[in-house]
Symmetry: D3
Subunit: 323 residues, 6 copies
């Protein structure tokens, strides 16, 4: 079992509504804390939404996800995994963004994750809008490009917005491929749907070898079949998992800025995360939770429930398991 | 490609949250405008709910649907159709109802749609409660009765309410049959469910040949099989499509006055609209969106997403395609 | 047909939004009223949530369920059953709880239901948190232990909370088994899911023979197969039906204190209740509706829709049918 | 003391959130009940909003006001009056409106109140939109026209709407003067404000002698001075009190259809009602509470708090006090 | 009277909930429209919030303000002014911002307002966060610096944020003074309150001669006395009026990103705007309305009510009155 | 200046929406932490509402107040006080309540505060319902009874509820007097209003010498005059300050369980707290914030704004100022 210091507070001892809310009631370990070297999986908030072209709000995501995450208990009811006993997990706090300077914010994020990477631990991020993933990848995609499993309703592969803007939440994966952070032939995007400006993103995907699984195919084949293919695409080399909450149907996850109707339900949303077992996860994120559009917190709760499933898989990996 | 004047404003030029909201960011063409003759498909609001016997609110539907429709982009992600390039589309504004006189309001609606019909364009309506459909049909059902595909949780075939009231949102199709506006043998009603007063409406349907597909049958057979039958029933003669938002499960569409639990999900809601291809659509409506019961606008957004699917089919019809 | 006195008010006579709201617009028959002896099924509110360990609110459940139940009409649209013509039904009002004394409240509930049982009528309860079920069972489980069909995302079989607390909404069925109120071999729990503290509850279930059907199994087998097994487990001996609203996915039923994502949709929620036909229902409840977490009332409306399905089955039982 | 039957249920016995909600937890006495003759003040709901020209919803007002009124206790904290011991009060239920026929609804309301008047009791009404007051006055204004104290942000004295419509919630007092139900020289309107179509209503008021006290004057003079004048205007002859919730600033009473910013605060809202002592109240109403625009119920709670102040004054009148 | 083309649509003709929502139901005149030269006062939206350092959302302000502004009628109830008959008013639409580039957005705004200024009309703006005012002033403050009356809870005079950031919604007036757009000796800031980082802003104000009237002084002296002083400070030279909605207490205006409790009520909020008579208004704005924090629209409605008061004063100025 | 460790995080460094939310962004110092001895003022959460007889929710108060408190900056804008430089302040976390056992919870609270008192620091509490104050007083009222300044709409002096229940949120001050924790002649209760069960509480107050200032008197005399009297009553001996959020009018503070309309506005709410200067504060609390009744957090924000005013006075006291 992992270090008792890293065990979350139980609801049997302190009711779930009580206490200062950290992710999943884990201890807060500041990146400057000597304990950092003992952490194996770090939960990190990126409260930032400057890449948002539509309805803002994900800057408030980490806080609401911390709040709702106090309803997560120690054991996965479906698989029996107890991740906090498998790996030392901690809440590393939030990256401090600069809300009025996109490039400075990206630099801050990359610096934070570089430090995390140097400390040898795996990051699990609560965003933030989807542009957050780009500066994270800049820190993690070393020495080789990573594979990517993306759950999303959008490809986020657009070339630019508003007369040449390179950095928006609709472009991170285009940039990441251009920068050599991701290997397009080891990339799969699941759940793509909704109206589109045009086919520029999809044409690009095809040209570089990114596999796009639209929602119609997802619903027709079912989660298991799709995830089997996804895992074949990324193989056993290190892979980043990026989960945009708008992958899920907005009836289940209304709190997001660019919803697209017709997505998976909550059970399927959990299933695909659970089926990441066997993937070599180099890092993961859950992005685009926008509390102003869901005051009830239901979206954030679904988001942290998905994060817990991803965390269970990360904790079961050979790498991060404690000695 | 259609006239550039009729292209919607792109989110790449003007962000989606900006601008005076017209339906799908189309140009506003007043019925008195000389441009009317160039319009092929007209989007019209009927802000009226005087036929409502339960919880009011659909009078606010068109405005909220215009607002949310600014998130609709130019291309259908599933089919690739770009309707605004196939047909000249415009927002014709709202019919001016008389909120305190039902019959005067119905006359106003019929006059508006008669003008639209004379101009040779196809109307796609955002209601309004379901009684709105009756005065629309009075303008359109010429010279022959129309077929009808109805998506709804209620038959709206009741004889009367409150001691003989003929005109409520529970009676429009009874009246339309009586008035010879609809051919009952070319009518199909899909998704019927919920508790009922009695069987009077269903007995009437059976007696005149209206096909009713209850939700249990819908869920058992699936959208494709049901829609195949529906298209056989209406055939290739002109057909009106009426889509009551309460067809959809209230978790997906809470903003409506008479919800019935247990309906289709959002993906199925889009599917059935997409499967209208091949139907000769003489006009269509999406009714009963009630913003006071869904301040978030999620219901309206789903409503306009369905309208976009219908619009794509209308734009692909031989008739309205530009010369 | 049952006594006209017991017919609910029709929406054709008094609109659904009008009138003092009783359950399903039934007459209010106080337990002290001489009419009590003519009632066959009594609808009762238990506005109490002192057993809640997480987010409170079910004390407000009965009132909101009464309000939303005025949208229930006289006939089951799926089965054609008209329960109010099959059995005399009435609203017996609320048990008066003591919000600051758990054991006194339990005694008050048991006394109320003992009186109901003595009057020979079947109770259908709107809770209240799940601890409510325990004092109800103390009144009803005579002379033999009852069977149980539980729809829930939690087993509610925990031994204790907070250093030995016996009575919380997470323990009622553990207590009921210990007290001999339920026969564990005739118990089935459907829909169990979510993160858990540990496996103590599930180990106990296994040790005494309670059948637990987790949500993964439910989704894989489907409602029909699961309900066939459930009915075999309880057989034809008297059985209590307990329906925790958190059985249903929180997108459909957000108004509850301990939601677990990934549950059944609303159609399935109705299906399993409808499939209780043939079970000898000794009493039933619908618990954990928490209005503060769903101001819109959608959760309560789904709750009363489920109650109506259960009521139809209760009314069709040989026992309660009128002479 | 009044008949114990007419005492409201105490929160010390049954918590405020429990029980079937009647107005102020009073007994429900149907107009057909023999107990009617013992009632001295009858609380009545008029769930009707067909006169609404803007945002609908007051049809839901009586139910939400009943719900929130369960937080009203037996004694006026400011004056010490215990109205339910001074006069037999009861909830007479709702008038059954016809939501799709304005004139029929007005007839139904007049018939209901005529019966009430014949029974010799004083009505205190929860609306409903402001048109409700007209058919009530038709029943009560006999044999002489009544005086009127109106609290409102609008004069409701317009001649007509929408090309000649006589009956809207903006015209009731014009009609009432024309029909001889109100004596314009004994009419005072307090709190008038907001943008206006034109001055037609104010010119009419001046021409017939209605005293209008705009909000600027109200704020400058203060409640006491204004109420002293108001009581001089109506004198000691029978007077009707009509209180539109939009008299109060929308920060305090957001749940209404036609709010006007800049009104009195809640304390002043209670003060003016409390200062009605000495007026011979022939009947009173509190109208335009629209729950869809205030799901929290705060507006309804303020509304019933005002009603309680009016009720205290009605109960202290020489007339209705018990023998 | 002004040109009939510029009269707003009356609620007597088209109900307020109907129609495509322009500001105050005025005609939409695009800056490229030849009609522009006839406009005397232009209402403009600036849907932009990139300067926001706390909770975002004002980018959605113009749309919600347009929506709620359809409840504004033609005549000022307090003063009798009919502004649309005094001056040709029109909705000029929104400036197209670039949501991911602050400086580009500021350039776009300045270009738009330069065009407006060249056309000789007075702009009345609906923001947008408070940084919007800076690029507007860059277009308007010619040839001389302007005076300023600011209603706000913050001075917005800070030097910089986040290690030297010059452009945030907390710095516009510091920048404007530095750039010579405002004359600090003709500046007054009313309503300042709340916790502060330090006194750097206030020290700067004092050093350059800006008059700051904190809320304590405002409440002690009252609106009239304060406004008399304010008008003396700015004198008769051209003055810009900037009204931050957070000037008003958050109970009246919750929909804003950086609320400070303890502000004026709605009546006072209108009073101070009404008391701008006599000021030579060179332009005005109402900023920081953030719809995601007030889904009901009450804040936006109060905002447009204030805008209408300012508009009345602008329309009564000698300059813009029609020939 | 106080220890830099105890300085709150500035919004200039980490935006207000970022970071794990502690009270006012202070460091978290667990009671077991050696740093405790350096703390002079401890902010403590009591997430408990088992004494609530009406609408529950204050158990969620501390968390939402922590969240909203991140908008509090370092300096009091009205007085210039910088409390965190005057005294070492820290967030001591929450007391762990037992949600299903009132007496056990009271013991836990008393033990926690006894430890705090032994450490020599002053507690400032965020409740929790008002019963929380009783166990706090049991720890603090030594060796002499304390004085009390209570801001509240209720006296909370009732003898018992529900047939003899001693411990509810309506009885704490009755118990505290009986237990000798408070000196009734040094007690003042300000803002009392609303309907009441009877006069038993007020009669008791009079009999033991508690001064009750009803809201009518408060509004008539104004905050300054009332506070002068209040300070005379408590004198210079140690005094506890208890601030029930329902003291404030529900338009400003809707998020509470037992609102009473007609209270002070937000400015007055701050004023009275600010005027506590000179009182020897032995401890203070802000109770009855109920997030489920105000999802927006406005009530919590007003609550922490009041807490900040109290904190400024506590920090300025001779006692806690740093050596």
């Amino acid at each position: 079992m992992s270090d008792p210091f890293f065990q979350p507070v139980s609801g049997f001892d302190l009711p779930r509504f009580a206490g200062i809310p950290t992710f999943m009631r884990l201890p807060h370990v500041d990146p400057g804390d000597p304990r950092l070297s003992q952490v194996q999986i770090g939960l990190i908030g990126v409260p930032w939404d400057s890449g948002t072209t539509n309805r803002p709000g994900p800057r408030h995501g980490p806080r609401q996800m911390r709040d709702m995450s106090t309803m997560i208990r120690a054991q996965n009811g479906a698989t029996g995994v107890r991740p906090f006993e498998r790996a030392n997990c901690a809440d590393l706090g939030d990256v401090a963004p600069n809300p009025v300077d996109i490039e400075d914010s990206m630099d801050r994020i990359t610096r934070f994750y570089s430090k995390v990477r140097e400390a040898g631990l795996l990051p699990l991020t609560a965003g933030g809008d989807h542009l957050s993933t780009l500066p994270i990848l800049r820190a993690l995609a070393k020495p080789e490009p990573l594979g990517l499993i993306l759950f999303d309703s959008h490809t986020d592969l657009y070339k630019d917005y508003f007369d040449g803007m390179q950095y928006t939440h609709g472009t991170p994966f285009r940039r990441a491929i251009e920068e050599g952070l991701l290997d397009p032939r080891r990339m799969v995007q699941i759940g793509i749907r909704g109206t589109t400006y045009d086919s520029e993103d999809r044409d690009f995907a095809e040209s570089v070898g990114v596999r796009v699984i639209p929602i119609e195919e997802f619903h027709a084949r079912g989660p298991e079949d799709v995830m089997t293919e996804a895992k074949e695409i990324v193989g056993t080399a290190p892979t980043y998992v990026s989960y945009d909450i708008d992958f899920i149907d907005p009836a289940f996850a209304p709190g997001t800025g660019t919803p697209e109707v017709g997505g998976p339900n909550a059970f399927q949303a959990l299933q695909v995360a659970r089926m990441l077992d066997g993937v070599t996860i180099a890092g993961a994120d859950l992005v685009e939770v926008s509390p102003p559009f869901d005051a009830s917190g239901g979206t954030a709760y679904l988001g942290v429930s998905v994060m817990f499933e991803i965390l269970c898989n990360m904790a079961m990996q050979p790498g991060p398991a404690p000695a």
